[in-house]
Assembly symmetry: C2
């Protein structure tokens, strides 16, 4: 199609094979276009996490570029599943917002890179190159907060752990519009227990009321807004 653009480092990329996964075709096409021109080879594209998992095993790419927020299966969980069956593949996560907790989860899920979408194609290319060489690439600014997170974990406390299954049920019902008495009724438990779960949730999500908890949960992809 195109005559290879005279890019600086394009020749230094020995046809790194990429799998792109994002639910927005516009972004997929933009990525494919620019990255192809920068010397990469896009072997497949996925519209959601489930497709990404399938295509990862069928096309065996070198690097997988995964959007965090995707239908069917979110990027973090997709990364976890891909990493479970393929320890060598490089995983670069893309996200809209620089969320500390999601970043932590993504790294824990086996991601090698984590970039906010507000970065240039050159930065993505550099990140892919770095990951291909076995390094870890983070968006500017995220590295600092990542270190802060590690330091915090080294400290003593565990401010953000994972929400339990029951707590997630409570959260989802709250997000769906239920009050505490209604959640209790739905789950066949007492109001007090619901309040206990909520108190636990507030601690884990660093929230002080249900509104903030639900918003944080939405940000983290724990609950879906109906």
């Amino acid at each position: 199609m195109l005559t290879p653009a005279p890019t600086t480092a394009a020749d230094a990329r020995p046809s790194i094979r990429l799998l792109l996964a994002d639910d927005h075709r516009m972004l997929r096409e933009g990525l494919r276009h620019s990255l192809t021109e920068l010397g990469f080879t896009v072997v497949a594209e996925a519209r959601n996490g489930a497709e990404a998992v399938e295509l990862a095993s069928s096309t065996k790419p070198d690097i997988i570029v995964l959007d965090v927020t995707m239908p069917e299966l979110d990027g973090v969980e997709a990364a976890r599943q891909i990493r479970a069956t393929n320890a060598e593949v490089g995983i670069v996560m893309l996200t809209m917002h620089a969320d500390q907790d999601v970043l932590t989860e993504a790294i824990r899920a086996g991601a090698n890179g984590y970039l906010v979408k507000d970065c240039s194609m050159d930065e993505i290319a550099a990140a892919i190159d770095a990951v291909a060489l076995g390094e870890t690439a983070l968006s500017p600014g995220l590295a600092a907060s990542m270190l802060a997170e590690v330091r915090r974990q080294d400290g003593s406390n565990q401010p953000s752990r994972v929400i339990t299954a029951r707590e997630e049920e409570v959260l989802q019902l709250i997000a769906d519009g239920c009050s505490t008495p209604e959640v209790a009724e739905q789950l066949f438990i007492s109001q007090k227990t619901v309040k206990n779960h909520l108190a636990s949730i507030y601690q884990k999500l660093d929230a002080r009321d249900r509104t903030q908890a639900v918003l944080q949960a939405v940000r983290m992809g724990i609950v879906k807004l109906s």
Copy 2:
């Protein structure tokens, strides 16, 4: 930079001058790349609504591609301001989610096109061409719901009206984690007034508490989650 790619309909576009506005550089670059290659001329790029308004008046583009969710000034309000000073320019809105209310607001603000980001570059190009010719372009599926909306308006009721500026301030502060007393302090008004605004918001958004109101506002793009 690039030799113009031998694209099919590129010659049929007499260098339509574009202004791109999106807060995510990745998407901006992808759009600029692909649209330039498709024969358009990108004269400027904006990172937020305020920049878009400025650049619209200084660079006088033919078509403005506006993301709905942007910092500083959201796309809908930016469209309104641009339309107020320039009646001829074509405005194409881009959005992540196909939200009915936002679509209605965008059209009312003077947008000529409304596309979800899950569409191909060719579809965007086609929409820009259509808008350049004075037509209105909507994403597939949105046209139908648009008609449904018009039909609903023809009916009789007005289930969801618009949130006022003051109400939006209150909503945003609530979403940012403020309680009623804190919102009152921030806005230098009494708690009672905040509660009055909230009551009005509940009616308009069909919510019964602040949690649901904020969630609905997030869905509708009224407030941004920080």
